[in-house]
């Protein structure tokens, strides 16, 4: 990777002038603005849904140095929205895939790759050499980590988050503006069911929010327009409505307030109440049956009732003929079940069904057990013709 000397970033080559001509002919950018972009150093946390459009457009715009932090590998299911990666990149490190795409779009950009999981041990060091941090992550502990590290380093945090077809965007951690903790002082409680149904997201949504983040980043670099400081933008893509709520700096904020109590990075997993990996709740104590075992017993003619606790639209994708009662409806519909029969409960991966079995056992269904690994494991081990999703 070329390293850029001060002289080089203080001017634009003829090649760059031609490349950025549509910026240069606008007084709002001009040569001065383009040079600011060239001299800017932006760190993108995540090269996934939000990170894809963000990094693509920042590179196209001529941001001189783009750092990318991502330890993940491109998965087939990413391609529906993570447009910086292509079909041939499946299995590659996202960092390498992203860096290749960015170099192709704009070889003038210095891409710095950080193949690591952002943590309290490395965040401050990482942030040091950058001017602006853009948060494109997908979990609460990292949100709080990035926020706190931005406040402690004095770097603005361009925030974007998405859920299904709605998103939020703002600019946190500027000197006079609020930080993420001013808005959400407390993280939500742990023990979230990894709800596969709720994990769906409209492919375009991170595109929409990622571009908003790129826009805010460019505005901060140029010092123009009105950035989303003290403003929370709420985007509803289905209704195509954009709303704005006022955000205030909380003077008692433990990180950015007038008497901060958080002066160093903490253990964010502990803060969010998560032990170890933020993952599925433990299925300890829930009786389980392996797919092969269930298959064997069904073929032998045993009387086993299969209960599917997924959602109707999942049942349409694939099913093993189970009786469908979505998890949320189970308490009201439990009378449809016969507690004298053996019941095997399944969902997509085993998380929701474990909750269902726990509930059923507590309600007197002593012969209820969980299909380990759900219908995905059934597809893997028993019937590969069943599609995975």
């Amino acid at each position: 990777m070329a390293s850029f000397t001060d002289t080089q970033s203080a001017t634009l080559s003829n090649d760059e002038i031609l490349r950025y001509s549509r910026h240069l002919i606008m007084p709002e950018v001009g040569m001065d603005g383009q040079l600011k972009l060239k001299q800017a150093k932006v760190l993108c946390i995540g090269a996934g849904g939000l990170g894809s459009p963000l990094a693509l457009y920042l590179a196209a715009a001529g941001v001189g140095t783009l750092g990318i932090v991502d330890f993940d590998v491109v998965d087939y299911t990413n391609l529906q929205r993570q447009v910086i990666h292509g079909t041939n990149d499946v299995g590659r490190k996202k960092l390498d895939s992203a860096a290749d795409t960015l170099s192709e779009i704009n070889p003038n950009v210095e891409v710095r790759k950080f193949d690591t999981r952002l943590s309290s041990a490395n965040a401050l060091e990482l942030f040091r050499e950058f001017d602006i941090i853009v948060d494109g992550t997908d979990n609460f502990p990292t949100r709080y980590l990035v926020n706190d590290a931005c406040v402690l380093s004095g770097k603005p945090n361009v925030y974007g988050s998405i859920f299904r077809f709605e998103g939020q965007a703002s600019v946190f951690a500027t000197t006079d503006g609020p930080c993420y903790r001013c808005l959400y002082p407390e993280p939500p409680p742990p023990g979230l069911v990894p709800s596969c149904a709720e994990g769906g997201v409209l492919g375009i949504l991170p595109g929409l929010l990622g571009i908003i983040q790129a826009t805010e980043t460019i505005k901060l670099i140029l010092g123009s327009g009105e950035p989303l400081i003290g403003r929370l933008l709420l985007v509803d893509a289905l209704a195509m409505r954009f709303r704005e709520l006022k955000l205030r700096k909380n003077l008692d904020c433990p990180v950015c307030g007038s008497h901060p109590t958080v002066t160093a990075l903490i253990d964010y997993n502990q803060f969010c109440g998560i032990r170890g990996e933020e993952a599925r709740p433990t299925n300890a104590g829930i009786p389980e049956i392996q797919p092969e075992e269930l298959k064997r017993r069904l073929v032998a003619g045993e009387d086993i009732y299969i209960l599917d606790v997924r959602e109707p639209h999942e049942y349409q994708i694939c099913n093993i003929g189970g009786h469908l009662i979505p998890l949320g409806d189970l308490p009201k519909r439990v009378s449809e079940l016969d507690s004298s029969r053996e019941i095997v409960v399944h969902c997509k991966m085993g998380g929701r069904s474990a909750k269902a079995v726990e509930f059923l056992r507590q309600s007197g269904f002593s012969r209820a057990s969980n299909l380990a690994g759900g219908i995905l494991a059934w597809s893997d081990k028993v019937d590969p013709s069943l599609p995975k999703y």
Binding site: G49, T137, D138, N139, F140, T142, R143, S161, I162, F163, R164, F165, E166, Q168, L183, Y184, P185, E186, P187, P188, P189, G191, L192, V193, P194, S195, A197, E198, G199, V201, L232, L234, R243, E244, L245, K246, L247, R248, E278, L327, G328, L330, P331, R352, K355, A356, F359
Partner: protein, 100 residues
């Protein structure tokens, strides 16, 4: 009609998929209380055992955070809109798929 309450996506499973609700109330607290009466499944997600708003949920009256007004005692009128703003982070939200 009444005070309009905007229901965020993660909470819509508990309001029969409705994205808005119309409730009566003189204050934000009353409006929320009437909301959870209308949609009982919503109660434990929004309020704790003492009936107080859960700390990871923000509530706005029009475009102001009620923490900076009078919290649940903030007066509300029929032309107002209350927005519930949960924290979200990718596929995770504050409102888990729980069963009662």
């Amino acid at each position: 009609m009444g005070i309009k309450i905007l229901i965020p996506t993660p909470l819509r499973p508990y309001t029969g998929k409705q994205s808005t609700a119309d409730v009566a109330g003189q204050t934000v607290g009353e409006a929320l209380s009437n909301l959870v009466t209308q949609h009982p499944d919503l109660r434990r997600h929004l309020l704790d055992e003492d009936g107080k708003l859960r700390p990871f949920v923000n509530v706005y009256l029009n475009d102001d955070d009620i923490r900076y007004l009078d919290k649940e005692a903030t007066p509300a009128k029929d032309t107002d809109t209350i927005t519930i703003v949960p924290s979200v982070a990718g596929g995770m939200t504050a409102f888990a798929c729980r069963i009662s």
